[in-house]
């Protein structure tokens, strides 16, 4: 499991919550879990007294400012944890440090490719113009590909066309 800031001393409940979160997927890219995406920053479970339920505090970072998937993901988290018996759940958004594709897990990148979306190449700080990147076609592996638009079906992806197999495909932009 890889997420920017790994919680060092996790208790059993926190481990259980991470496992539950692993099952929640991005509604727009259903092969990716929210852990693969790297949007969960930390999970904390506090237990102050035996009379009160455990307090669950989850910090997350949205991918893009206006990502429409955020509300859906929040609802999924609340439902999943409620079903598992947690009653006191707080979801807190943190904007800093800004989300980056560097936080995406390697297994997530592999899943993206199998799904037909080219995974982000390089580190976000390198900030290379899309036109200067060679993106391999996720269908046939050819690098004879051409950028069609910097923006695709969602803000996080760019649209490409493969000149070998002639199929269009999405590239998950380095961000």
């Amino acid at each position: 499991m890889q997420h920017g800031k790994t919680e060092k001393c996790m208790n059993d409940l926190e481990k259980k919550i991470w496992q539950l979160l692993e099952k929640i997927t991005d509604p727009e890219i259903p092969v990716l879990s929210i852990i693969d995406l790297g949007i969960i920053r930390s999970v904390k479970v506090n237990h102050t007294s035996t009379d009160t339920p455990h307090e669950v505090l989850i910090w997350y970072t949205p991918t893009y400012s206006a990502c429409p998937a955020v509300d859906m993901i929040n609802t999924d988290i609340l439902v999943s944890l409620t079903v598992a018996g947690f009653t006191n759940i707080r979801l807190e958004q943190t904007l800093f440090p800004a989300w980056t594709t560097d936080w995406m897990s390697e297994s997530g990148k592999e899943k993206l490719k199998k799904y037909g979306i080219a995974a982000p190449i390089g580190k976000s700080c390198e900030n290379i113009a899309l036109a200067d990147l060679k993106i391999a076609c996720p269908q046939c592996g050819s690098i004879q590909t051409i950028l069609v638009s910097e923006f695709s079906s969602t803000a996080c992806k760019a649209l490409y066309k493969c000149n070998t197999c002639l199929e269009p495909f999405d590239y998950f932009k380095c961000h």
């Binding site: 893009y64 400012s65 206006a66 990502c67 429409p68 943190t94 904007l95 800093f96 440090p97 800004a98 989300w99 980056t100 976000s124 900030n127 113009a129 069609v148 638009s149 910097e150 923006f151 695709s152 079906s153 969602t154 803000a155 649209l159 932009k173 961000h175």
Partner: protein
């Protein structure tokens, strides 16, 4: 009807200014949805609109929190967007101007993106952690907007004789609204301090470089339009608000 006109806190005023720029620009961009020259570019501009509205939400949410803390008044991102009248908006006039043709639209976008890039770049270092966080997040998105609009302005400015002429005319029409961005108000200066000089310099350089590559020359004009930052707007803003706010005004608290 609510108003934020009595607010004196410079940070809140600045947040509203930044949010208003983004919201009105996003709304104008959204008018192209379904009308773009080709599907890919229609989608590109709609994505930019979405980014702008997302950024506006972040600024409004933070402004609402500070208003609650300072005056106890319960506002939300929605009431700030939907229940203020035009004199309460602090956006620069350029964002409310009609889009016009595609060339004029991408030129407007270029100026706004160049400015947003330069101001967020400085705000990223601001001592106010939440303002810095929003700026840092927005900056990543603006980088794409700037590149996209630069490419279009260069393609059309340095294109056919017809496209070049249209871009020249668009630049003449829009240019009087460019100075307002770096004609800083008291509340901006209060938050930006000396960094306003860097912003002005970077903005002129960033914009100038693209115009020059596009073969366009900024007109020399003796006057510039302003007033937006203080709430004095063109008639266009009223029409935008009439459309954007109609539902919340006619059916208060409607939700879906």
């Amino acid at each position: 009807m609510m108003t934020t006109q009595e607010i004196e806190n410079p940070l809140i005023k600045f947040l509203l200014h930044l949010g208003d720029n983004a919201l009105i620009m996003g709304h104008r961009n959204s008018e192209w949805c379904g009308h773009g020259p080709i599907l890919e570019q229609d989608i590109a501009l709609t994505n930019i609109a979405l980014d702008q509205i997302g950024q506006a939400r972040n600024f409004y949410q933070y402004a609402a929190k500070l208003i609650l803390e300072s005056s106890g008044e319960q506002l939300t991102e929605d009431s700030l967007a939907y229940l203020r009248d035009s004199w309460d908006f602090k956006n620069c006039l350029l964002v409310e101007l009609p889009n016009g043709h595609w060339g004029r639209t991408v030129l407007k976008q270029l100026i706004v993106s160049a400015y947003q890039f330069c101001v967020y770049q400085e705000l990223e270092k601001n001592a106010d952690k939440q303002l810095a966080a929003i700026a840092s997040k927005s900056l990543k998105e603006i980088t794409y907007h700037f590149r996209w609009s630069s490419e279009w302005v260069i393609r059309l400015g340095d294109g056919t004789s017809e496209s070049t002429q249209k871009m020249k005319d668009a630049l003449d029409a829009i240019w009087p609204y460019t100075n307002e961005w770096t004609n800083f108000s008291d509340y901006e200066l209060n938050i930006l301090g000396d960094s306003h000089l860097t912003i002005r310099e970077n903005f002129e350089e960033k914009l100038g470089a693209v115009l020059s590559e596009a073969g366009l020359t900024a007109p020399t004009i003796a006057f510039s339009q302003d007033g937006g930052k203080k709430g004095n707007h063109t008639e266009h803003l009223g029409y935008i608000l009439a459309e954007m706010q109609f539902l919340q005004r006619a059916y208060p608290n409607a939700a879906w």
